[in-house]
């Protein structure tokens, strides 16, 4: 598979493969980090650090452990959460806005008029409250199924099926 090959080349320190992966995922990583730190400049910094870290620790990734995107997403979430706990960050940002990812997307003026961007905006405005919460926790905040079920006071199994339905709606919009 093409992606798998790309990741292998990346692990062999191939710059071109790295650049390709960067192009594929950097905006997503930036989005996830931004959703946590709520500051574009800090998000830039963390996102770059995340990719550099991935580059240097590429040998610790194995496709047996999960998707490459998932791997780098994990690194990013952890880095962003670490940042919010740091002293300097706490001093600078007294109170973080409680915006969800949906609020951020909805507040964007359409930067690019690609069909995906339009589809996603439509998706988030039509999304049910519970879907918003589930996606926020599982994908952006990195909650486990159990943590999400406690947070939202829903049975564990419900989280799983609800999440599937929510992502299904998203897929209908962007694919």
């Amino acid at each position: 598979m093409e992606l798998e090959l790309l990741v292998k080349q990346f692990q062999n320190k191939n710059h071109i493969a790295f650049e390709k992966l960067y192009e594929m995922y950097s905006k997503s990583i930036h989005g996830v980090v931004y959703n946590i730190v709520k500051d574009a400049a800090i998000a830039d910094e963390i996102m770059q650090d995340v990719f550099i870290k991935a580059w240097h620790k590429s040998d610790t990734y194995s496709s047996k452990k999960g998707r490459f995107f998932t791997w780098i997403l994990n690194i990013a979430r952890n880095a962003a959460i670490d940042k919010t706990r740091s002293k300097s960050f706490k001093q600078k940002k007294q109170n973080l806005s409680t915006d969800y990812f949906v609020d951020i997307i909805a507040s964007h003026d359409n930067l690019d008029n690609s069909t995906d961007a339009i589809g996603i905006k439509k998706f988030v405005t039509e999304l049910g409250e519970k879907c918003k919460a589930v996606i926020e926790l599982l994908y952006f905040k990195g909650f486990t199924q159990k943590e999400a079920s406690e947070e939202l006071q829903m049975p564990i199994g419900t989280i799983k099926t609800r999440n599937r339905n929510c992502i299904q709606q998203l897929r209908d919009m962007v694919l």
């Binding site: 959703n35 990812f101 996603i120 999440n163």
Partner: protein, 265 residues
């Protein structure tokens, strides 16, 4: 294993979110290798999540900034060889160009031939349809001939009347079958909103009986119509009537009329 139920369970969405246990991850990885439809599902989920998360980012930084930070230590520098004409290599290239051109030409030929075959096939089918049509026509004509040759048939020529002297028609009446065959090729097409109506007449006293209208006159090919007639007709007439026909013939529009010759039997 029920792949569909597995997909429906929502576990793959959690897999992409990255919050399953290590054992679960490994198990799914094995399943992905065995079942392409699972892999496809994961790719689609991942793609959707990648797009969604990207939509949150207010800006994106290019790769340029990163290049300096990862250093170029791994780039291998290849020493350039001093140039020397390598005839082997040149002739090799030349040969491959010739070969490529030849292949291209052959392929071209092949596709042209294919097209020709297609065209011929099409023509064949067209000709077959024509033959079929002709056969049907022939059968119909033979049928007609049989009808006219029948010994019981009475032929009644209908001549043009009044202003319509150029019109004519012919009725072949098979009394035993109570049927007339009307050959109306000598009539013009019925104008818009009008229709030809056929009448059976007795002469003393003169009383017309409608045998019906010929609604498909303009579209019929051979202009021969089979009409039931159980009357003791002494004459036949054809008038042009408003669509739907009339109860009694409009005499000003009587185009053709013919009297049946006195009973031959």
């Amino acid at each position: 294993m029920d792949i569909k139920a597995y997909i429906e369970s929502g576990i793959l969405e959690l897999y992409v979110a990255g919050k399953l246990s290590e054992e679960e991850n490994q198990e799914i990885y094995k399943l992905l290798l065995q079942h392409p439809e699972l892999l496809q599902e994961v790719l689609e989920i991942e793609n959707a999540v990648v797009k969604l998360t990207a939509a949150v980012s207010p800006s994106s930084k290019g790769f340029e900034n990163l290049k300096d930070k990862i250093g170029n230590t791994d780039t291998k520098v290849v020493q350039l060889q001093p140039k020397s004409t390598n005839w082997m290599s040149y002739s090799g290239w030349a040969a491959s160009v010739v070969l490529a051109a030849g292949l291209f030409w052959t392929l071209n030929q092949k596709s042209e031939l294919k097209q020709t075959i297609q065209t011929v096939g099409l023509e064949n089918r067209y000709l077959e349809t024509q033959i079929e049509d002709t056969k049907t026509d022939l059968a119909a004509t033979k049928n007609l001939l049989d009808v006219i040759r029948d010994k019981d048939i009475i032929a009644v020529p209908l001549g043009g009347q009044g202003d319509f002297t150029s019109s004519f028609a012919k009725v072949y009446w098979n009394k035993s079958k109570n049927t007339i065959y009307l050959d109306a090729e000598g009539l013009p097409e019925a104008p818009e909103g009008k229709v030809w109506q056929v009448w059976s007449l007795t002469l003393n006293p003169l009383s017309p009986t409608s045998l019906g209208t010929i609604d498909d006159f303009n579209t019929d090919d051979n202009k021969i119509f089979t009409i039931a007639n159980a009357n003791e007709s002494q004459a036949f007439g054809i008038t042009l009537e408003p669509k739907g026909g009339s109860k009694t013939p409009t005499m000003e529009q009587l185009h053709t009329l013919g009297v049946v010759a006195s009973d031959p039997s």
